[in-house]
Symmetry: C2
Subunit: 267 residues, 2 copies
């Protein structure tokens, strides 16, 4: 029975003993991926996922099957610039050459940026202080082959001032129930958004949002709502009412996955 | 027998009569494409090309087969931001709705940006005053999924000052034989480079080159030579000797196609 991160909670004693015996080290990988070809992070039956692809690469170079624990489930089509995940490896694993070895067997749309050792009690999800997402909107009448699958295409001109004014209402600690996909089983729906910034460069509008945690589809529903402000279909102040309502039906639609990037995790 | 651009030279009279009769108009399309899936611009047997794909789209929306004349042959894997091509259509074709109609049937990696009427004697290749290419180098030790197929990946740090110093020798009117792929049948190998600029932003080095014309693989061989200066394997002044040599074997290797973008054609 090999120690596994996915069932860590149930095996602290075994893990701890192995660590003390010097048999195990916990490794944090930071990876980038283009999500278009994947059904999200988490292993699924009958679908290719990023987790499974990286696990296969680890098995290929170490000869051993290791379970990866990720910092979040990303949805199908969502990208990551700095996704964080952990696995337990034999002590003495060469962290300097590990990214290069993994990249040699990984497909070109996934890349390991770095590998470092973390303490035994480190958890890529629960140890995170904050996460930062970026949502990219390609705002032009014209279709752009270079942004296909990498940004949401919005054809009509969006009002950045209106979007930025609406964005301010999200900053702070709120119950974000109105921005959580229905069917989510999360009980505590209070999150603290520390930063929400909208910038435009050429035809690309970037929405950068940082929070201590995110509900299911929260970024994409916030973006869908900000777009309504950009369309002048709602007044920016309306954002405050929608938050207060805690009613998903009051918020805007869920923006599509191809514009979303998990940018970084702050530990 | 329908008028066709590809055999225009042999049919000036027919074309001219049809134009005067108001039956024909010549349309210039500006298109963007991501070249990765295509075997270049020009129609080939047993390979999918951009020309064929756009011709199929025109046939689909007009019900008639039209030959397209392009501004240049781009190689397999090369991209275009503003490629120009012409075809003859029935007079009265709605130029405003044409891009939208074509984009509705084109694959997502090709997009028509604009359509406008040009004079009968306009030729997308021979009427061009200058063309501008951009070559993108992703210069980082790490692999980047977002630049895969969109930039040449060069792992070791390149010296921008050395590349820029070497670049200056290319500006002006020279016999560029040393920068022409062997096997090319072109007789006049003199070209005038009006601009050659190297910039770096984050990990992306952009080489922008503008000239009155380019020999086969000229941009990619110039970039391969500039990289040698960036590696400090040759002194920048060496570029002058290589140009003078008119010997392909003296220049650097041909940089790979995925970094090359036909940026615009100046008429």
């Amino acid at each position: 029975m090999s120690p596994s991160n996915s069932s860590e909670a149930s095996k602290p004693l075994i893990f701890s003993i192995l660590c003390k015996a010097g048999a195990i080290m916990k490794i944090l990988l930071t990876i980038s991926y283009l999500g278009g070809r994947y059904h999200g992070w988490q292993v699924q039956k009958n679908a290719v996922t990023v987790q499974e692809t990286v696990q296969n690469a680890i098995e290929k170079i170490t000869g051993k099957r290791r379970d990866l624990t990720g910092c979040s489930r990303t949805d199908a089509g969502v990208h990551a610039v700095g996704y964080c995940c952990c696995f337990s490896a034999e002590d003495g694993t060469d962290l300097f050459s590990l990214p290069k070895s993994l990249n040699a067997v990984l497909p070109s749309d996934i890349s390991v940026l770095s590998a470092r050792e973390v303490p035994e009690d480190f958890h890529p999800r629960y140890s995170a202080k904050e996460k930062e997402y970026i949502y990219r909107i390609y705002n032009s009448y014209q279709r752009n082959p270079f942004e296909e699958g990498r940004a949401m295409h919005y054809r009509h001109r969006l009002d950045i001032a209106g979007m930025s004014a609406a964005a301010e209402y999200f900053i702070g600690t709120h119950d974000f129930s109105a921005f959580c996909a229905s069917g989510s089983s999360v009980k505590d729906t209070v999150r603290t958004v520390s930063e929400l910034e909208i910038t435009k460069k050429n035809d690309i509008i970037s929405v950068r949002i940082k929070a201590d945690g995110f509900l299911y589809n929260m970024v994409r529903i916030i973006v869908g709502t900000l777009i309504q402000a950009g369309e002048k279909r709602i007044e920016p102040e309306r954002a405050a009412d929608i938050i207060k309502s805690r009613d998903r039906t009051m918020a805007g639609p869920t923006a599509p996955p191809e514009g979303l990037y998990l940018n970084r995790v702050i530990y």
